[in-house]
Symmetry: C2
Subunit: 168 residues, 2 copies
């Protein structure tokens, strides 16, 4: 017995994105109760040259859909990166979950050695599938979900680590 | 081809803990240059009822060594949770890496279905090995490393996501 590429990816991303969606609900309830504008939190940064909350959610979604699209070859939806409200961010998360759940496991399984090339400006980085999933996409995904959590927590939204981990 | 329990755990934890150690070096350089006491940052919290940086590093280490000890049956070192300086935190990270690297892969491989029970007060939670690794330990590990990063970033330490991801 071993772990399949599917088991190590889709169910894990879907679980955490579902938890993220509920965390965004708590953020919504927090601003509603205090009559705070969405952008006060969605544009909030932990430091001036860090990315704001909305971008953290966008990249978390893109990190999950990006690796699944590259591994499976199934085109992922393209988003406009224009969300400024919690409702819009929740919709992006929901669309990302729907895409992930639409990809058949057998398109992801067996991609451990698939060549993956990423480009950043002129710089190409070469990976194989398992390395890209476990060494890049997974830690990047958790980084942006956790940073979203930390921005909300820093602003007093009442969430705890249980909200992030959920029921694995 | 599939992913082994070892491949999904030890090399990933070791890579990120190595990156964390270099991030702690940058924090050390930051406080040295400004004559700031270690505790100003190691006791820093993003919100009053969040855990401080030192505890974030402690739990990141414990999350990695805890899951490997449970899966492999190889006893992990016990730490006193008394670190207040970056030097002491770096030592804990180094000892955690040494333990992880000391555990033979064949003690971890094949533990996908091993029964794992965690206790929190009176509450027991039952997992099997793969679920505990991928659904609990891995996201918990990344959560605490990222929160360490965010505390430092929020305090102006010059680090970027590349420092967190390293070379996978």
């Amino acid at each position: 017995m071993t772990i399949s590429m599917y088991q190590a990816s889709v169910p894990r991303f879907v679980n955490i994105l579902g938890n993220l969606s509920k965390i965004l609900d708590k953020a919504q309830a927090h601003i509603d109760a205090r009559k705070i504008a969405d952008a006060t939190l969605t544009a909030y940064r932990l430091f001036p040259d860090m990315l704001p909350l909305a971008t953290q959610v966008q990249i978390a979604c893109d990190s999950a859909k990006g690796v699944i699209a590259r591994l499976s070859g199934v085109d992922a939806p393209v988003f406009e990166d224009n969300e400024t409200t919690f409702a819009a961010l929740k919709e992006r998360v929901a669309k990302t979950i729907a895409y992930l759940q639409s990809v058949p496991a057998d398109k992801i399984d067996g991609t451990e050695d698939k060549a993956i090339v990423t480009k950043r400006g002129d710089k190409e980085t070469h990976y194989v599938g398992m390395q890209f999933l476990l060494g890049h996409a997974v830690p990047n995904f958790y980084f942006h979900v956790t940073t979203t959590y930390n921005i909300l927590r820093h602003n007093g939204v009442e969430i705890g680590k249980r909200d992030y981990l959920g029921q694995p």
